[in-house]
């Protein structure tokens, strides 16, 4: 299981930080960043799923696969 915040959708509502407090850090504008992207205990996973359901922009993503995050790179 992997937890991510899609920064293109995050609008800084910070609701994820209420539900997933241990795993999310908010910056000075309230945009969230996931501290540890593996939600491996069932307790953490429950919290992550709640955060995902509460995010008004669908930016908080809990995915079943655990592929490392891809950072798009310049090619041209």
């Amino acid at each position: 299981m992997t937890v991510r915040i899609d920064p293109t959708r995050c609008r800084g509502h910070a609701i994820c930080a209420l539900f997933f407090a241990d795993g999310v850090e908010l910056d000075q504008w309230g945009f969230g960043r996931v501290l540890d992207d593996s939600a491996d205990s069932s307790r953490l996973l429950r919290k992550a799923r709640r955060a995902a359901a509460a995010c008004p922009n669908g930016a908080f993503i809990v995915s079943e696969h655990s592929t490392p995050a891809a950072r798009p790179v310049h090619t041209g």
């Binding site: 910056d27 798009p72 790179v73 310049h74 041209g76």
Partner: protein
């Protein structure tokens, strides 16, 4: 072609790129420009001769080798060809990833060259279009793709023109090529980023996408998508002709193959593209263009690159490993030369202001952070910043770093950090005594005027 017998010698096992001392490379350093006899990729007609036609191309290089997909993949592995768009990712791994993923792969050759001062990709497309198409054709075979999208920015003199003429020649000659599709997207800095290009080609906006899996696994179309820089495929076309080992040995011991570099700033001919074979230093490249002594500093790798002190850059081989030792990376191959009488902070501030406007406007901390970073850099350049401001700038950089869906904010942070590190003395002077005398120096690097980020919706990103 200017290969000589020593190019076929085995590669030295040492990782040292420097030419003196133990482990010195046996390969000669050659630096030349379009049409020069010391060039390989850029050999052939000179810059004034325009686009090289199919007949001339085939006469010089022979026909495109009839390698099947497996043989091209072996060539990619053995040559260790690295992507030349900036990230330097091994092409063989990208291809193998795409082949393991479900679906027929999509191949996009990226000739966007979004870096405003870089000229290598458009030089190749304009003057050697058949090398670009040869390489694209080979990469398509490696992927089992029967069509290729050739993408560039919608600008005057876009690579699409010469490429489309070359395609007509190839179709008439009945070459066994994939189906070609020309694509032109918006002329914005981040629109050339690979996920932005893939999104545009799929009918979406040319803005970077947040992805949880690499494009080569799962592109916007749902199919594995390989985006490869134009120079990268040209390198493949050349490697197919001379062989993986010979091609590989034309680089520095730690860095495979020849490299293309664009010079900008305080050089006799800004915008000139040079080809480097062998373990040449930045000093060698600048000497070849008539510089007699190290400049104040060199911006290495692009606008979102790294400043390196001139004397340090002068002795550093232009290879991935050696540049890493001075905190830099080849990036798009740009070398921006800063003279001793210009203000490095003013130059950096202009770049940061431009890059801030080039955000795609999608990620909060890029939208909020980059203009503030630009403001802080402006204040520092103008001599109105205080020490406290400098500390805030550092915290801001921390916030912005790694916050985006793409690496755009990271690039700006790396540029700013390298400026604060390399130009520490200038920073101290600016904090103490207002702007320096060099602040009135005419602009050195060709930084376009900053533009505001277009709003979402509309057709600015289409």
């Amino acid at each position: 072609m200017t290969t000589s017998p020593d190019l076929l010698a085995p590669r030295p096992t040492h990782a040292a790129d420097l030419r003196t001392g133990p482990g010195a490379s046996a390969f000669p350093v050659r630096i030349d420009r379009l049409g020069g006899t010391g060039a390989l990729l850029l050999s052939g007609p000179s810059a004034t001769d325009g686009s090289e036609g199919l007949v001339g191309h085939a006469t010089r290089w022979g026909p495109l080798p009839a390698h099947d997909g497996a043989r091209v993949r072996t060539l990619l592995r053995d040559s260790r060809l690295d992507g030349r768009g900036g990230a330097g990712f091994p092409v063989a791994r990208k291809v193998e990833t795409a082949l393991l993923a479900p679906g027929r792969p999509v191949l996009i050759v990226n000739a966007s060259e979004s870096e405003p001062a870089s000229r290598k990709d458009r030089t190749l497309c304009r003057h050697r279009p058949h090398l670009v198409l040869d390489g694209a054709s080979l990469l398509a075979r490696a992927l089992g793709a029967d069509e290729v999208v050739l993408h560039s920015h919608r600008i005057g003199g876009s690579p699409s023109g010469p490429l489309s003429l070359a395609i007509v020649e190839r179709v008439r000659a009945g070459l066994e090529d994939p189906a070609w599709h020309l694509s032109e997207g918006p002329d914005r800095y981040v629109a050339g980023e690979s996920s932005a290009v893939a999104s545009f080609v799929d009918g979406g906006e040319a803005r970077p996408r947040f992805t949880t899996r690499p494009l080569a696994v799962d592109g916007p179309s749902g199919r594995p998508t390989v985006v490869s820089n134009a120079e990268t495929v040209v390198q493949l076309a050349v490697a197919a002709r001379i062989g993986a080992v010979a091609w590989n040995s034309l680089g520095a011991p730690s860095s495979p193959g020849p490299r293309l570099v664009t010079l900008a700033g305080a050089v006799p001919r800004p915008g000139l593209v040079l080809e480097l074979t062998g373990p040449g230093t930045i000093g060698d490249l600048l000497t070849a263009e008539g510089l007699g002594a190290p400049p104040a500093a060199v911006l290495v790798g692009g606008f979102a690159g790294t400043w390196v002190r001139g004397d340090e850059a002068w002795q550093t081989p232009f290879s991935r490993e050696s540049l890493q030792c001075v905190g830099a990376s080849p990036g798009c191959g740009l070398l921006g030369v800063l003279p001793h009488d210009a203000c490095p902070l003013v130059e950096t501030a202009r770049i940061v202001r431009y890059l801030a406007g080039e955000s795609a406007g999608q990620c909060g901390s890029c939208v909020a952070g980059l203009p503030r970073l630009a403001g802080a850099m402006d204040a520092l350049a103008a001599g109105t910043a205080r020490r406290r401001g400098l500390a805030r700038m550092d915290a801001l950089a921390d916030t912005v770093l790694g916050s985006g869906a793409c690496a755009h904010p990271d690039g700006v942070v790396l540029l700013v950090r390298s400026a604060l590190r390399v130009f520490r003395d200038d920073v101290v002077r600016h904090l103490a005594g207002g702007p320096c005398r060099a602040a009135d120096h005419p602009p050195v690097l060709p930084v376009p005027d900053a533009r505001p980020t277009p709003t979402t919706g509309g057709d600015a990103w289409r």
